[in-house]
Amino acid sequence: MLEIKNLHVEVNGREILRGIDLVVKPGETHAIMGPNGSGKSTLSHVLAGREGYTITQGEILFNGKSLLELAPEERAGEGVFLAFQYPIEIPGVNNVYMLKAALNGIRAYRGEKELSAADFLKLVKSRVKSVGMTDALLNRPVNAGFSGGEKKRNEVFQMSVLEPKLAILDETDSGLDIDALKTVAEGVNALRDAERSFVVITHYQRLLDYIVPDVVHVLARGRIVKTGSKALALELEARGYDWLLEEAAA
């Protein structure tokens, strides 16, 4: 599904990612952990196609296609979804209206017919409950005046409507209390199936208690320094990151 090969990325001339290799197969959930400043968010932004990053080496293949040559909206069309760490407010733009434009944008990209208003509404209604969205949130301007938890829930809700092939969750747990975390995790778990893959970026092990990964990677100083199972996350929680950094430096 996703294949990252020797990816090097610079921002303003500074190398942030220094040779990332990663393979995610259909249906797999990979966790990427790491200390602050290790390049986790850069990786998620580069996957979704944000401007301002220079790819100096390497490639990203998504179902065999080179992702780096596609605009963000085309990547969405291919089935990539990024749940933002800090979802931005867009005043005056109705949440559901935006989502309908997004879904129909993706459908148009795939050569599918636009969804009618009635069918779209049905789809939205069926997804609302799973992530604890309320009608009030649905019809407010995108993220405007949402609490931290509401914003994250909205991200997972959008994901459930857009049904991506690969979802990247960028620190979805940050700023959530334990109840909100559980709700969001349940929303994500409901979407897990044999085809859909997830890349879960997180600083803390806590989220992985609820979204249990198949593989855990540790990203440090722009490289994946260790790969293991769920047990690795628990070890990190107990010992911190320093020992890994030392190991990597040695």
């Binding site: 401007e51 909206e73 867009i90 005043p91 990209y109």
Partner: protein
């Protein structure tokens, strides 16, 4: 030039000898402006003597005035003697014969706006012999209004048919000497609309100049007068979302609104004059004076405008809040792209007690355009308990454009409350990336953000107009980003 002036003089004399015009030889008055030209215009329109006198007085005032230079706009000097001040509607032989002869870019825009073919032909000025549906629409429409006692007709017709009403109100809101362009308009205005809503009458439909399109060929100097008598209500829509073809570069319209006790006037404008090409060549100069007088107690005047066209816009729809407890509102979206310049805003003059005003202005600048908001809130000494709320937001697209805000507040009454909020923001890369990552194309994402920014104003527009206005913004912004 001398012989031209002579011709004019002859024509005028002849008309006066006859008392009225039966056959008009020349469709266009030669360039230049003097008393004779004004006499000629008045004669062609078969106006009574008082109207001509009024025009001549205005002309005398205009000659003693100077073109204003305070606005934040730049353009080469206008040679007022090089302009022609009267042109009869073009005869069929000068107009395009079919849509094939019309600028394809214009047609493209019509298509995007979803304008029916027949209307496209009207807008593009195609000469057609067939009678349009809209003519019959027009007739039923007038019958219905007449039943309610509403007068809605061309200004020329009003001068002839309802002289008492016109004389009573004309120039009482925008005096002849108000400003340079208003004085010029008063001297040479070609035509426009007149509306009178009788006491305690709710106008049975939205009044729209749209219905006049086929007869319009607007003319450079339009004059509009709307009078809402006590306890009446009217909603008036002006303009058209489709870009209009027009060879006149200078437009100086005057709009006067009068609201008597408990009356309400809602005046909505969508202005989409030709803005010129990407280098700013050939666009319309739109120098308009619009003012509403809340003359009666608890009267209300509400201006809503969406301005996307014209090379230069100079326009300040204002409210004079005389009546106790009267209310003034101004909701505006002004969008400039390429080399367009806009200096627009409002004046709220609080004279009466407990008067209230609301100003919501949204300026959007793209390309290399300059967009200025200029607003005055004046609270007179006698305006006890007056309140104003102003919100003034600017959105910048790209880095070569400019947004400017010139708010003036004059408060002479200590019991008044005046609030002003202002913001300037750049269309954010984060917002764009967010929407695009969801699968929305860049251009659609920009439209979505801009329309969201304007929402507070759009919701004041009549439903149909609001939908068209949204499409219009999208079209006006094409190519502005990316």
């Amino acid at each position: 030039m001398a012989s031209n002036a002579q011709d004019v003089a002859e024509l005028v004399d002849r008309h006066y000898a006859a008392g009225f015009v039966t056959d008009i030889e020349s469709d266009t008055v030669p360039p230049g402006l003097d008393e004779d030209v004004i006499r000629l215009i008045s004669a062609k329109k078969e106006e009574p003597a008082w109207m001509l006198e009024w025009r001549l007085k205005a002309f005398a005032r205009w000659q003693s005035m100077r073109e204003p230079t305070w606005a934040h706009v730049h353009y080469p000097p206008i040679d007022f003697q090089a302009l022609s001040y009267y042109a009869a509607p073009k005869s069929a032989k000068d107009r395009p014969k079919s849509l094939d002869e019309v600028d394809p870019k214009l047609l493209e825009t019509y298509k995007k706006l979803g304008i029916p073919l027949e209307e496209q032909m009207m807008l593009a000025g195609v000469a057609v012999d067939a009678v349009f549906d809209s003519v019959s629409v027009h007739t039923t429409f007038r019958d219905k209004l007449a039943e309610a006692g509403v007068i809605f007709c061309s200004f020329s017709e009003a001068v002839r048919e309802y002289p008492e009403l016109v004389r009573k109100y004309l120039g009482t809101v925008v005096p002849v000497s108000d400003n340079y362009y208003a004085a010029l308009n008063s001297a040479v205005f070609s035509d426009g609309s007149f509306v009178y809503i009788p006491k305690n009458t709710r106008c049975p439909m939205e009044l729209s100049t749209y219905f006049r399109i086929n007869a319009m060929n607007t003319g450079q100097f339009e004059r509009t007068l709307v009078v809402a008598d006590s306890g009446s209500y009217v909603s008036y829509l002006e303009g058209c979302t489709a870009p209009m073809r027009d060879e006149n570069q200078l437009h100086a319209a005057v709009v006067e609104l009068v609201a008597l006790d408990d009356a309400e006037i809602k005046y909505s404008t969508v202005q989409n004059w030709y803005p010129g090409d990407a280098e700013g060549r050939g666009g319309i100069y739109n120098f308009v004076t619009k003012r509403g007088d809340c003359r009666g107690a608890h009267s209300k005047i509400s201006w809503t405008q969406v301005e996307t066209g014209s090379a230069i816009t100079w326009k300040y729809p204002s409210c004079i809040l005389k009546g106790e407890g009267s209310v003034g509102e101004f909701y505006s979206v002004a969008l400039t792209n390429n080399l367009q310049q806009a200096d627009t805003g409002t004046k709220m003059i609080h004279l009466g007690r407990n008067t209230r005003s609301t100003i919501v202005s949204k300026g959007i600048s793209a390309g290399r355009s300059q967009n200025a908001y200029r607003g005055l809130v004046r609270i007179a000494a006698g305006a006890d308990g007056a309140r104003n709320y102003t919100q003034c937001d600017s959105l910048l697209l790209g880095s070569a454009c400019g947004a400017h805000t010139f708010p003036y507040i004059e408060c002479k009454n200590p019991s008044a409350q005046v609030e002003h909020e202002a913001s300037t923001s750049r269309i954010s890369e984060d917002q764009l990336f967010y929407l695009r990552s969801r699968g929305i194309k860049q251009e659609d994402a920009v439209n979505m953000i801009v329309n969201g920014f304007c929402k507070e104003v759009f919701k004041e527009l009549p439903m149909e107009f609001a939908v068209e206005a949204q499409k219009l913004l999208g079209i006006s912004l094409e190519g502005a980003v990316g």
